[in-house]
């Protein structure tokens, strides 16, 4: 890792210790050297999904203090507001204490405690019956867990295609948009070159995301005087310290970005050499309307795409490194009319519809601002290019004396992805980066190993047979389709998965659609299920759209009086709003009581300078009758006799999750952890299981990190030395380059299907939508909701984000974090409020086409005037999370989810999701706000029945004196 990124954060001369030999003799009796800890354990934080390294200081068997691990590649010693409040999460009053079996009606919160043996027996009996008859009747969906390589593998061995984690309602548009375009994406997949970039653009980032790395990076940019441009309707957090804040209208980022592309093309400010070397810009596209291969690449006999060689005057393999390809023109090859990708691209974005003047009003951004930013991008990329004196060799064996960099970097997240046009908007951002030649170059956006992978990577999703009794799937349930034949649909085109992922409704649903599962299971569409098995996802509250209806579906009964969703198993560590809807509750541990692996097979902790992974390990023993979920899942796998989970004699293969982490091999030599493999721990990446592996991780501070050689750190898509390393590590199958797919041929294949070509064609009703949305080049279209409703009645966009000190539903049970925020306001632009006759602190009805919710407003200047927003998941339901009945969260805080439709407005059967990936379109929401009457002010609505408390739940504390016991000389 570069010198600058290896240094602990906060180590500037003005941040160092005093360096005194001893404390000054003040004589005031202050003990300046108290004992801090009996031991310090290094593990991985889980106060959000960032996976920072933490030092947990234990004194007298209790957590005294948690600080950042200075050696850790993610956080370099810093720790955010959440991580520093981990003590209160570990000791939360909402922790579940024992397995529970529902005793009252679903949703009441009435349970009886049972022993683990009974709980596992109930689950095993039920799941075993499903597996023997129709395994797809188990829908297994996990939330924000970090063990998807285990949970997905378990589902695969069980034989159900109905598995996914939370990505479908989080940011699959970013993941899929990136993976189908550049073979990587933001966050786990890549990061800005914080040490070298001179111009940083940040699009739509929810503030709880990629928390410390972004903050550390922004600190570096500020210290170096780099320019920060934020594109976000809200001027909070990161956007508050940007040099330029572009308060864009929600859902128009794609239009804004393509207007930048328009300006850059018009002025010739693009990197043609880069486009030729690393992208499919030269590839010839067949142009024969009506033909069954119209819009596909022209391919040679070896199936390789062809380009037109200007010098030879003939079509040759586009992958031939020595050709001089044409980027423009019409070429006739074997009687086929073809044009290069670049020609199509230029024609589209040079259209006046993408000019700054044409988009300005819609985006809420002046045309002059768009032109200025385009000029700045061009200036930094081309006039301020940088050169690292590092020689490297590309995939074709050509030696390059230096590494050239174009120091423009970008990062984007939820604000881009949570719209029905998010996939294409994400592709547009990658297109802009690639045209400027800034992907994986010094100063640009950098891949984190194991990325880049092929665009798109393999494998394809398994489950085409819909799941057969006692038969594992042929592979993992989630994957990447490359054409209509890969969809999981039956002969009539009906979805095979309960969430309708990989159907015509959501063809590129790489993360599944967890947000549709409850409705589909309730409606029996495409079929009824037997058991819904959920892990740490608050689906009866802030993780679902249309909460009121969702709750009704969970409790709805058929004519016979049976629940329409027959059985619900739920595992969580805390008493969330979802626990009371379970029939069987499997209590999980806190993050300090468990093993975990942050795996390269899943969502690792790599740095752009090298791959890494990490573990959690139990630092404290649970004081409750709870078990780590992954250990329970492995136990169930053994009891069910799932292949891979049992030995030949039928006994359980793994003792627990720790045993699995060390000894499981997904492929020979490749296991959950890459570090210290081989019997003696002498290798990494690939090697036999090492019985001592976990101890080696613990000894190294809880993580493993490999530093790439200097000449492997950039141009990873085409860098021979890096590509060879990637193959050795199992990241890629072959050492060939990753070509960026500006034009996406898989999308065009769907279009052709919509025109009736090929074996798999969409049902008639789906064709127009597939034709429109599966455009092989990024484009912008209006978010669906605003095209279907009366926008004069609902003139405002409504958004949510999480505060930096909270993570989804978890923060409010934390005695410290909830003191910072226990009521969310609706933030309204001051001018907008004046027009509506609203004053600060007024209570308002926030109404959408789906219903209304009541909350209190706060007037601000720093928000797009046509947008209102609030902090998400502060509003809580009474009886949940160990909070008292008078808590602000359930009386004055509100949940916007109540009025976000889970169905697309005015579109019959579709869910409220991106039509390409199925990503939940949280941010398409449109609302009106109106002052409520004096009698209605002061409390939120709708209100819900209070949950009963689980048996033996401790009464909520009136006072906390945490830490008193650590103080010398004072009796706790």
């Amino acid at each position: 890792m570069s010198e600058a990124s290896r240094r602990p954060a906060n180590s500037a001369p003005s941040q160092r210790a005093l360096g005194l030999a001893r404390a000054p003799a003040e004589g005031d009796g202050v003990d300046t050297s108290p004992d801090v800890a009996d031991r310090v354990a290094k593990t991985t934080c889980y106060m959000c999904a960032c996976r920072c390294g933490i030092d947990v200081h234990i004194k007298d068997g209790k957590v005294r203090y948690i600080s950042g691990n200075k050696d850790h590649p993610v956080n370099r010693g810093v720790l955010c507001g959440k991580g520093s409040a981990g003590i209160m999460q570990h000791y939360s009053p909402a922790r579940l204490t024992k397995p529970l079996l529902r005793s009252g009606p679903r949703g009441s919160g009435e349970f009886r405690e049972i022993e683990w043996e009974e709980a596992l027996g109930i689950a095993t009996e039920r799941l075993s019956r499903i597996r023997q008859t129709d395994p797809k009747k188990l829908a297994f969906f996990t939330g924000r867990d970090q063990s998807q390589s285990l949970t997905g593998w378990w589902a695969s061995k069980f034989g159900t295609p109905n598995f996914a984690a939370h990505g479908g309602f989080c940011s699959v548009n970013m993941a899929a948009g990136g993976l189908y375009t550049i073979g990587g994406s933001f966050w786990e997949f890549g990061e800005p070159d914080w040490d070298r970039t001179k111009y940083f653009m940040l699009f739509g980032v929810a503030e709880d995301h990629d928390s410390n790395p972004i903050k550390i990076g922004l600190g570096k940019l500020k210290a170096r005087g780099a320019k920060v441009v934020s594109v976000n309707p809200c001027r909070t957090g990161y956007n508050a310290i940007a040099d330029d804040w572009i308060g864009i209208r929600p859902g128009t980022d794609g239009l804004f970005v393509l207007a930048l592309v328009h300006e850059l093309l018009k002025a010739g400010k693009i990197d043609l050499d880069y486009l030729i070397a690393y992208t499919n810009a030269p590839v010839l596209v067949i142009q024969e309307p009506g033909a069954d291969d119209d819009g596909l690449f022209l391919r040679g006999p070896d199936d390789r795409p062809l380009a037109w060689d200007r010098e030879a005057g003939t079509a040759v393999s586009a992958l031939d490194p020595y050709i001089k390809p044409a980027l423009t023109g019409v070429h006739q090859v074997n009687g086929r009319r073809c044009v290069p990708v670049f020609q199509l691209l230029a024609e589209r974005y040079l259209e006046e519809t993408y000019s700054p003047d044409a988009v300005a009003e819609r985006c809420g951004v002046d045309a002059s601002t768009i032109r200025r930013i385009a000029a700045e991008l061009a200036d930094v990329a081309f006039e301020q290019a940088i050169e690292l004196p590092v020689a490297w060799t590309d995939w074709a064996g050509r030696r390059h004396a230096t590494m050239r960099g174009r120091p423009v970097a970008m990062h984007a997240m939820r604000g881009i992805s949570a719209h029905t046009n998010g996939f294409h908007t994400c592709r547009a951002i990658h297109l802009l980066q690639v045209l400027l030649g800034t992907v994986d170059v010094p100063g640009g956006f950098r891949f984190k190993p194991p990325f880049p992978k092929l665009a798109p990577p393999g494998p394809k999703p398994a489950g085409k047979d819909g799941g057969r009794p006692m038969t594992p799937l042929s592979g993992m349930p989630l994957g990447f389709v490359t054409g209509p034949e890969d969809l999981l649909v039956d002969e009539a085109g009906k979805p095979l998965r309960i969430d309708k992922a990989y159907s015509w409704e959501a063809p590129l649903a790489a993360h599944g659609l967890m947000h549709t599962v409850i409705r589909n299971a309730w409606a029996g569409d495409p079929y009824p299920i037997d058991t819904l098995f959920l892990y740490m996802a608050n689906m009866a509250w802030n993780s679902s759209m249309n909460t009121v209806e969702t709750i009704r579906m969970l409790t709805d009964r058929d004519e016979a009086g049976d629940y329409k969703i027959p059985f619900i198993i739920y595992s969580d560590a805390y008493y969330s709003e979802t626990v009371p809807y379970a029939d069987l509750v499997l209590p999980d541990t806190t993050y300090l009581e468990r093993h975990d692996c942050i795996s390269l097979l899943d969502r690792p902790i790599s740095h752009a300078d090298g791959p890494g992974d990490a573990i959690r390990h139990p630092i404290l023993a649970p004081d409750r009758d709870v078990r780590p979920f992954q250990t329970v899942l492995i136990d169930l796998g053994g009891r069910l006799g799932l292949p891979g989970f049992v030995n030949e004699d039928g006994t359980a293969k793994y003792r627990d999750y720790a045993d699995y982490i060390v000894n499981h091999e997904r492929l020979p030599g490749i296991g959950p952890l890459a570090g210290w493999r081989g019997e003696d721990g002498e290798t990494f990446g690939s090697g036999k299981p090492n019985p001592d592996q976990l101890q080696r991780y613990i000894d190294n501070g809880g993580f493993w990190h490999h530093e790439l050689a200097e000449d492997q750190r950039f141009y990873k898509m085409a860098n021979r030395s890096y590509l060879e390393f990637a193959v050795r590590m199992g990241f890629k199958e072959r050492t060939g380059p990753v070509h960026f797919q500006l034009y996406s041929e898989p999308l065009q294949k769907f279009r052709l299907a919509a025109r009736g070509h090929g074996k798999a064609v969409p049902p008639e009703a789906e064709r127009a939508r597939i034709e429109a949305c599966m455009d092989p080049l990024p484009f912008w279209y209006a978010p669906f909701e605003e095209t279907a409703i009366d926008t004069e009645r609902y003139p405002l966009h409504a958004l949510t984000q999480r505060p930096m000190h909270m993570y989804h539903s978890w923060g409010s049970q934390n005695a410290w974090l909830r003191q910072i925020t226990n009521q969310n306001r609706l933030f309204v632009n001051r001018k907008t409020a004046a027009k509506l006759g609203l004053d600060d602190d007024d209570w308002v009805w926030i109404e959408s086409i789906n219903g209304r919710v009541k909350g209190q407003i706060r007037l601000v200047d720093g928000v797009n005037p046509d947008t209102v927003w609030t902090w998400n998941a502060i509003g809580k339901r009474r009886g949940a999370w160990g909070l008292k009945d008078d808590a602000g969260e359930s009386n004055r805080g509100f949940l916007l989810n109540h009025i976000i439709g889970d169905k697309q407005a005015g579109a019959g059967g579709y869910s409220n999701s991106d039509p390409v990936t199925g990503q939940a379109a949280w941010f398409d929401l449109r609302v009106r706000i109106e002052k409520c009457s004096a009698q209605e002010a002061g409390f939120t609505e709708p209100q819900f029945e209070r949950f009963a408390q689980p048996p033996h739940f401790s009464p909520t504390a009136e006072k906390l004196s945490f830490g008193a016991g650590f103080r010398k000389g004072r009796v706790a």
Partner: protein, 243 residues
């Protein structure tokens, strides 16, 4: 009334960079977790899970909007004891509980002498005092006096908890009485300011103001892009570039 030292050997304090602070609350909760088990332990939380949670915090971040000629901005403002050179909270103390250390200038409270009269909190114009109603004494930022000299902590970690945690590197620590110290030089370079100097309490801590920025992004001033006019327009340019 409590007397102040005529001078202190060091003037230890914090410098907070308002240009970089994103308001993430890391300094707030890292302070809380260190200090609730530290010198003034505990930092009691009353009604922690109820309708009026009210705890002792030595450091709080306030966010507000500020309109300047260059347009509006959102400012995140961390607030803790400024360890004034002439702190009214000390001179007003009737028992000698509040005092300023001669060696390093840290303002502390001796709990054994504090009678909980709250005069100090009335005297402090910065709102830096925190009354622990459960224990009945006044508490406040100790500048992590039990970290910065602590032999049980690795030498490089002997900085206040808030400085160690800050993810954007917006917090600095050192001797502001030494003009050659790195922190004093930082203040000089960046034009660091005292809060409300007109009151005369001479705060030790400094705030670095947000850097000048304008809505037209002068920092990356770039010439306007010119449309390619030559023959064939953009595609003609591409051909010429490649030929």
């Amino acid at each position: 009334m409590t007397c102040l030292p005529a001078s202190t050997e060091r003037k230890l304090g914090l410098v907070i960079d308002l240009d970089t602070c994103v308001g993430c609350q890391a300094c707030v909760t890292s302070c809380k977790e260190w200090n609730t088990g530290g010198h003034m332990a505990p930092l009691t939380d009353i009604d922690p899970y109820g309708g009026r949670p009210d705890g002792v915090w030595f450091n709080r971040v306030h966010s507000y909007e500020h309109v300047t000629e260059a347009g509006g901005r959102t400012v995140h403002f961390p607030r803790s004891c400024l360890h004034c050179e002439e702190p009214a909270c000390v001179t007003v103390c009737p028992t000698g509980a509040s005092y300023k250390r001669t060696s390093d200038g840290i303002v502390l409270v001796d709990e054994d002498k504090c009678i909980g009269c709250k005069l100090c909190s009335w005297a402090c114009p910065y709102g830096a005092r925190e009354f622990d109603t459960d224990v009945g004494v006044m508490k406040k930022c100790t500048l992590c006096v039990d970290r910065i000299y602590n032999d049980n902590i690795a030498p490089e970690d002997r900085v206040p908890a808030c400085v160690a945690a800050c993810p954007t590197s917006a917090r600095h620590f050192g001797d502001l009485g030494d003009p050659d110290s790195a922190i004093s030089q930082l203040v000089a370079e960046r034009g660091g300011v005292e809060l409300m100097p007109e009151l005369g309490y001479k705060p030790t801590n400094r705030y670095l103001p947000p850097r000048a920025r304008t809505e037209n992004g002068a920092k990356a001033a770039a010439p306007a892009l010119e449309t390619l006019k030559a023959e064939g327009g953009f595609l003609g340019w591409v051909d010429r570039m490649l030929s």
